[in-house]
Symmetry: C2
Subunit: 363 residues, 2 copies
């Protein structure tokens, strides 16, 4: 029962991190990447915490991935303090380089090693003022249908970056179509094929030994060693109900829960919790069984979610009115972003509070 | 074109409020309630801003509705400053009264008039330490299937509150099943029937002239004057894509947008914006046409949403790479909660910045 690990007297809803589970998750992925001969560059958008970033670096991560310049600035703020520095950051996003972003990237590049994503010749050309200071990775689409050029078109973008005076490090992709039951294997195959094709196109255009960066949490352990040189998973650090329902993580590998109070038992088999979409996050993929899971009631389902109410269908012996239960959010990245700090718990006690330093760093 | 109203040189994504539209929305609902002979108690969970709360009070609102004690504490912090005071707050939620919450409610009741919701005799009994200091409203379920007792059971909860020494003001319900296309009329009828039945039960048990509080934005203007004495809509202040797609608000009544930059045009008919679920909110009801709407491209649809990417299907003349567009979130309450401040714009200029004072006040 995870309930026995919840600190007593908590004001709810409260977002908790189990430090021992976090450490096991971090060590497990680090060991996998090392064993597979791939560099690990964890995505910090999941946790947004310097404390977790430093743990990842201490376990041998090459650097961090982030989604925005703002996240990069905050993660770079971890340098120079006690513990390993975050000195190498990849903004794995096709930035549109406005004057404001160029100025901020220039400042950032004076502090840490910076690599930025791009998926168009137009954006690459606008990065020219940063020549010699930041590196570029070309984004390719391996089947998700989001951003990124077709693998065959990667060389054209790389040439535009080279013409603008920028060093091109390689190519990257996000196999996010791994987020469906049973889809991770095919997504990993797509990832390998797209990275291989794009890297070959770059090599043919004179770019030597291009980096091939991929990885999502569902597909990370299926990544092909020959085709993928760097992995960028994020969610694995904390896990969530999506990973449990995809079969990627066990319940006891979920390191973040929201402690919630049973505020209402309006009908038999139905309870209402004070954790709603403003703390769990409203994410609900079509294949999910509900809006999150209850750690100690695996058969229960969150059938309705409003801003401050989770309606739970639970048979048998439901939690009592006023009781506190542990809820696993569907998507941990959006849940973390909703709170100012994470309560770090160990053996049923709150032992630390970690600020969500990069919360809402959306630009 | 709303695009012409966007301030130039914005760092995106940026959450903007059009002050003139906000004021029109506030005045419209105030006039409706006054004309229908109902008290208006707007729900502050939508905007979480003292500046908007004061405008609502200045337009004749009886007080505010909130969802949590934390929201109440922050809204009460608006008293004593320039402008009308927020001196009457209803926590329209079935609180489970822990020792911590009782202490905070006691302190709050020393500053403003406080009413709390309850939907069980057990919770009502635990409110006893607040006898003489807070009032109670009994929650009934009018068909949403969330919290609240059946209307016939309201009197039992009211008696428990009376036995605990508390004043019972009346009954309340949330007709949230109005949030489906074409459902608002039936939800308003359910609301009227449930409030009438519950109020009659209270009257029969000796509670005189019970308040009957209802209201959601889709159903508010359909509320029955005889059955509903108080309205608690929230979203109407700002509106959102849900209200547009339900036919409740026109596009030009949407007072909050997220300015976003086109960062990628990876394929014909597809663009990618830098506004993702961490600024728009991930809410997507099954009946919605997508993950939000583009104000100036009514035929465009947001077909995919990730944390920092919105993928938009747009035919004809799509916005150009690097262009800035106005995105209407699906659910404004969760979008507001994602940012520290709202940029108030008028005539294409940012004229003020309003802190989201009650952001993440989930407990």
């Amino acid at each position: 029962m995870i309930g026995s690990l919840l600190p007593g007297g908590l004001a709810t809803p409260a977002t908790l991190v189990f430090a021992d589970r976090l450490d096991r998750n971090l060590a497990g992925m680090a060991a996998f990447a090392a064993g597979a001969g791939m560099a690990l560059r964890p995505h910090a958008k999941t946790h947004k915490c310097l404390q977790i970033a430093r743990r990842q670096m201490a376990l041998g991560a090459r650097g961090l991935s982030v989604a925005t310049v703002g996240e990069a600035e905050i993660m770079a703020g971890g340098t120079g303090r006690a513990g390993p520095e975050v000195d190498d950051i990849f903004i794995a996003y096709p930035l549109w380089p406005t004057a404001d972003l160029l100025a901020r990237l220039g400042e950032l590049a004076g502090r840490v090693r910076v690599t930025v994503g791009t998926d168009s010749a137009a954006a690459a050309a606008q990065l020219a003022p940063l020549a010699g200071r930041v590196r570029v990775m070309v984004e390719v689409d391996c089947g998700l249908g989001r951003s990124g050029v077709r693998p065959a078109d990667a060389a054209g973008v790389a040439r535009a970056a080279r013409q603008a005076g920028l060093e091109v490090s390689g190519v990257f992709t996000f196999p996010g179509h791994s987020y469906r039951p049973g889809a991770a294997g095919a997504a990993a195959a797509d990832e390998a094929a797209a990275l291989a094709e794009a890297a070959a196109a770059l090599a043919a255009a004179g770019f030597e030994n291009p980096e091939r960066s991929g990885g999502s949490t569902p597909s990370a352990r299926l990544a092909r060693s020959g085709a993928v040189s760097e992995l960028r998973p994020g969610v694995y650090a904390l896990n969530d109900a999506q990973q449990v329902e995809l079969g990627i993580a066990r319940m006891d590998e979920v390191a973040l829960v929201v402690a919630a109070t049973v505020v209402s038992r309006p009908a038999p088999g139905r309870i209402v919790l004070d954790a709603g979409s403003k703390v769990l996050g409203p994410d609900r993929p079509t294949w999910a069984s509900g809006h999150g899971r209850l750690a100690d009631w695996p058969a229960a389902r969150i059938t309705g979610l409003w801003e401050h109410h989770a309606v739970v269908a639970v048979d048998g012996d439901p939690p009592e009115l006023g009781g506190v239960v542990a809820v696993i959010p569907n998507h941990v990245c959006t849940a973390v972003n909703l709170v100012p700090e994470l309560l770090v718990t160990d053996q049923g006690r709150v032992v630390d509070r970690w600020p969500v330093a990069a919360r809402a760093a959306n630009r």
